[in-house]
C-alpha cells in the first residue's frame, strides 16, 4: 500500500502538491469565478494537457517538439467531427441541398458524407480515435525520426514543419474539414446540450479529473525504471545505448504518450469552447504551449499546469487592455524564463522553500532536481533508511 502511495503520488510531498492543485481547480476557482470566467479556465486546462505532455517529452526526455498543436488539434477534430455529425441530423439541416451532412460540406457542393467522416458517427469510435489517431501519427513521425537518430533542433524544426503542413492541409480542404473557419456550431453530445451552464460546469470538472489523471499517469511513468532511463538519456543518450537500451523506442513511447495527452486536451477544448479550427493546430499555438510548460517548469508536471493557467490568465487580462502589447510581453516572458528561471515557477518554488526553515532537504540532490524529480521519482523507496 505504501508502495502504491509512493508510486502514484510521490509520497507526502507529491500528494500534497496534487491535493492543493485539485482544491484550487475543483473548489476555489469554481466557487470564485462566474461561469464565463470558469469556462475560460476550462479552456486553459485543456491546454494544460499539452503542457503536461511536454513536461514528459521535453523536460524529462529532452526532446523538444514544436508541433504538439498537431495532436491537440487532431484530438479536437475527432471530437468535433462526432459532435458536428450529431448536430447535422436531416431535420435541422433540411434547408441544405443535401440534408444530413455538415453545413460546410453542403456549402462546398459535397453531396454525400466523405468516407473519412463515416466512422465518426459512432461515439465509441470517436472516443477511440481521439487518443489513437494522434498517438498513431506520433508513432509514425517518432519512428521515422528517432530510429534515424534525428534529434535536437532538427526534430524541433521538423515537428514545426509538420504542424504547418497539417494546419495548411486542414485549411485548404474546406469541404472535408470546414477550412479556416473550422468546425463550428456544435450543440449536443449524445443528446445532451453542451452549451448550457450546467453542462459547462460538468465538462469543466471532467476536464479537471482527466488532467489529474494525466498527471498521475505521468508520475507513474516517471516513478518506474523508465523515469530513470529518461533522465539518463537526457544527459548521455549515447551512454544509454551502451547500457543496452534501444533509445529510439523510449523516445517514441514518450512522444506517443505526450501526443495522446495533448489530444485529450484538444477534445476537452472542443467540448468546452464549442469549436475547433486550424488556428489551434499550427505553429503559433504549438510554440505557445511550449512557453506554458517553460514558465511552469519543464521538469514539473504540476508546474506545467500552473504555468498554463498563469500565462493564459495574463494573456486574457492583457489582451483585453493592451491587445498589441501581449505578443511582445509573451516573447519577453519566455526569454526571461529561459535566462533567469530555467526551471520556471517550479524552480522558483524550490528557491522559496529552501529558505523556509525546517523544510531543508536531507538527501543530497541538487536543489532543482529535489523538487521536480524526487517528488516524482521515489528512488529511495527501498533503501532510504540505509544510505543517508
Amino acid at each position: 500500500m505504501k508502495k502504491v502511495y509512493q508510486h502514484l503520488f510521490g509520497g507526502n510531498e507529491g500528494a500534497l502538491g496534487l491535493v492543493i492543485l485539485a482544491i484550487i481547480l475543483a473548489v476555489i476557482l469554481p466557487a470564485s469565478l462566474d461561469i464565463f470566467r470558469l469556462n475560460l479556465v476550462g479552456k486553459y486546462i485543456s491546454y494544460a494537457f499539452v503542457a503536461v505532455g511536454l513536461v514528459l517529452l521535453w523536460g524529462n526526455t529532452g526532446v523538444l517538439s514544436l508541433g504538439q498543436g498537431i495532436f491537440f488539434g487532431l484530438g479536437g477534430y475527432c471530437m468535433a467531427m462526432f459532435l458536428k455529425l450529431e448536430a447535422s441530423d436531416p431535420i435541422s439541416t433540411k434547408i441544405q441541398s443535401t440534408p444530413g451532412i455538415p453545413d460546410f460540406m453542403d456549402w462546398n457542393q459535397l453531396t454525400h458524407l466523405p468516407a473519412l467522416w463515416v466512422p465518426f458517427k459512432s461515439f465509441p469510435f470517436a472516443l477511440f480515435a481521439i487518443v489513437a489517431l494522434p498517438a498513431l501519427l506520433a508513432y509514425i513521425l517518432g519512428t521515422a525520426m528517432f530510429k534515424r537518430r534525428v534529434g535536437g533542433v532538427y526534430f524541433a524544426v521538423i515537428t514545426q514543419a509538420v504542424a504547418l503542413i497539417v494546419s495548411l492541409g486542414i485549411d485548404g480542404n474546406q469541404g472535408y474539414t470546414g477550412g479556416r473557419n473550422g468546425i463550428t456550431d456544435l450543440r449536443t453530445l449524445l443528446g445532451w446540450d453542451i452549451r448550457t451552464k450546467s453542462a459547462q460546469y460538468t465538462l469543466y470538472y471532467v476536464a479537471v479529473a482527466l488532467l489529474i489523471g494525466c498527471i498521475l499517469v505521468g508520475r507513474i511513468v516517471l516513478s518506474t525504471r523508465m523515469g530513470r532511463v529518461l533522465l539518463a538519456m537526457k544527459e548521455r543518450e549515447d551512454r544509454v545505448r551502451f547500457s543496452g537500451y534501444d533509445v529510439a523506442n523510449f523516445k517514441v513511447f514518450v512522444f506517443c504518450l505526450a501526443a495522446a495527452m495533448s489530444a485529450l486536451g484538444g477534445a476537452m477544448f472542443v467540448l468546452q469552447v464549442g469549436f475547433i479550427s486550424p488556428s489551434l493546430v499550427g505553429i503559433v499555438p504549438s510554440i505557445e504551449m511550449v512557453i506554458f510548460a517553460a514558465v511552469g517548469g519543464k521538469m514539473s508536471l504540476l508546474g506545467a499546469v500552473y504555468g498554463t493557467l498563469v500565462v493564459n490568465t495574463g494573456k486574457s487580462l492583457f489582451s483585453e487592455t493592451f491587445p498589441q502589447l501581449w505578443l511582445f510581453l509573451m516573447g519577453g516572458l519566455f526569454i526571461a524564463v529561459v535566462m533567469f528561471f530555467p526551471n520556471g515557477l517550479a524552480g522558483l518554488w524550490v528557491v522559496v522553500r529552501e529558505r523556509l526553515p525546517g523544510l531543508k532537504r536531507r538527501v543530497i540532490r541538487t536543489a532543482v532536481s529535489a523538487a521536480t524529480q524526487s517528488a516524482v521519482i521515489p528512488a529511495k523507496l527501498a533503501n532510504s533508511e540505509g544510505g543517508e
Binding site: 518506474t224 525504471r225 533522465l231 547500457s243 534501444d246 533509445v247 532536481s369 544510505g387
Partner: protein, 248 residues
C-alpha cells in the same frame, strides 16, 4: 572456420576509413576467454577506434568482428551489449544526475525494453546485486550520492561497476586508471584481476607500470595496424616498439 571459434573475439581485416584516412587498417586481433589483453600504442594509433568499432559506435568500412560465433558488424549498439560486451569510455561516462544506486540499477540487464522498464520492480535480488557490485568497486558507502559528487577515480570505478552489472563476457576499458591516485591505481589492479577470473577484458592504457601489473598479453598498435603482440617483457624489448612508442 573451426579454429576461430576457440577465441571469444575474432577480429579480421578490420578497416575503417575516415575521409580516406585509415584509422584502423586491416587489423587482426584474437582475444581468448578470461584473457586480460592490453592495447598500447602512441596517440592516433587507433586504439579507441578499435573499441568504438567493436561496440558499434563506429561503423567499419571492411572486415569482420566475430564474438562468440556471432558477427557484430551491422548490429546496433544495444544488441552488441545484449550479446555480452560492455564498454567503459575514456572520460568517465556515468549519469551524473542519478545516484550511484540508480546508475547501477539502470545497468541491470533485464527489463531494458519500454514495457520491461514500466514493469521493472526493484526486487530483493536487484538490490542485493547492486549492493554487491557497489562493494566490489569500493562504492558501498556512496549508494545514494549523485554521480556528479563523486571524485574522478570514483566515477571511473562506478562506470566499471555499471559494466559489471551487465555481467558481460567481454569488458572493454578505455584508460581505466586515468586521473587516479597511486592508491586508487593499486585498488584498480586488484579489481581487474578479480573480475578477470570470469570474463575477458580488453584494456587501453598508457601507464606502463599499470599495464605490467595486469596484462596477460599486450598488443601494440601503430597507424591502425598491429606492430607487435605478446607478453609485456617481449614487447618491451621489441626494437620496433621502442622506436615508435616506448623508447621515448
Amino acid at each position: 572456420m573451426a579454429n576461430r571459434t576457440d577465441f571469444l573475439l575474432t577480429i579480421e581485416d578490420l578497416t575503417v576509413s575516415f575521409d580516406g584516412f585509415k584509422a584502423v587498417d586491416g587489423l587482426n586481433l584474437y582475444v581468448d576467454r578470461n584473457e586480460l589483453r592490453v592495447i598500447i600504442g602512441p596517440n592516433g594509433a587507433g586504439k579507441t577506434t578499435v573499441l568504438d568499432l567493436i561496440c558499434g559506435k563506429t561503423k567499419a568500412t571492411a572486415g569482420s568482428i566475430v564474438f562468440k560465433d556471432r558477427q557484430l558488424i551491422g548490429l546496433p549498439e544495444h544488441k552488441i551489449v545484449h550479446a555480452g560486451i560492455g564498454r567503459k569510455f575514456q572520460t568517465p561516462s556515468i549519469y551524473e544526475n542519478l545516484t550511484v544506486f540508480e546508475n547501477l540499477e539502470i545497468s541491470y540487464p533485464t527489463g531494458r525494453s519500454v514495457m520491461g522498464c514500466l514493469a521493472f520492480r526493484r526486487s530483493e535480488d536487484v538490490i542485493e546485486r547492486i549492493e554487491s557490485v557497489a562493494k566490489s568497486v569500493f562504492l558501498q558507502d556512496y549508494l545514494h550520492v549523485e554521480g556528479a559528487f563523486l571524485s574522478h577515480g570514483q566515477k571511473q570505478w562506478l562506470e566499471i561497476g555499471m559494466l559489471l552489472m551487465q555481467d558481460p563476457e567481454l569488458l572493454m576499458l578505455d584508460e581505466p586508471v586515468a586521473g587516479m591516485s597511486p592508491a586508487e591505481r593499486e585498488q584498480t589492479v586488484e579489481l581487474l584481476k578479480r573480475i578477470c577470473e570470469k570474463r575477458a577484458i580488453l584494456v587501453i592504457e598508457h601507464d606502463m607500470e599499470f599495464v605490467q601489473k595486469i596484462a596477460h598479453r599486450v598488443t601494440v598498435l601503430h597507424l591502425g595496424k598491429t606492430l607487435a603482440e605478446g607478453r609485456m617483457e617481449d614487447v618491451r624489448n621489441n626494437q620496433k616498439v621502442r622506436d615508435v612508442y616506448l623508447g621515448h
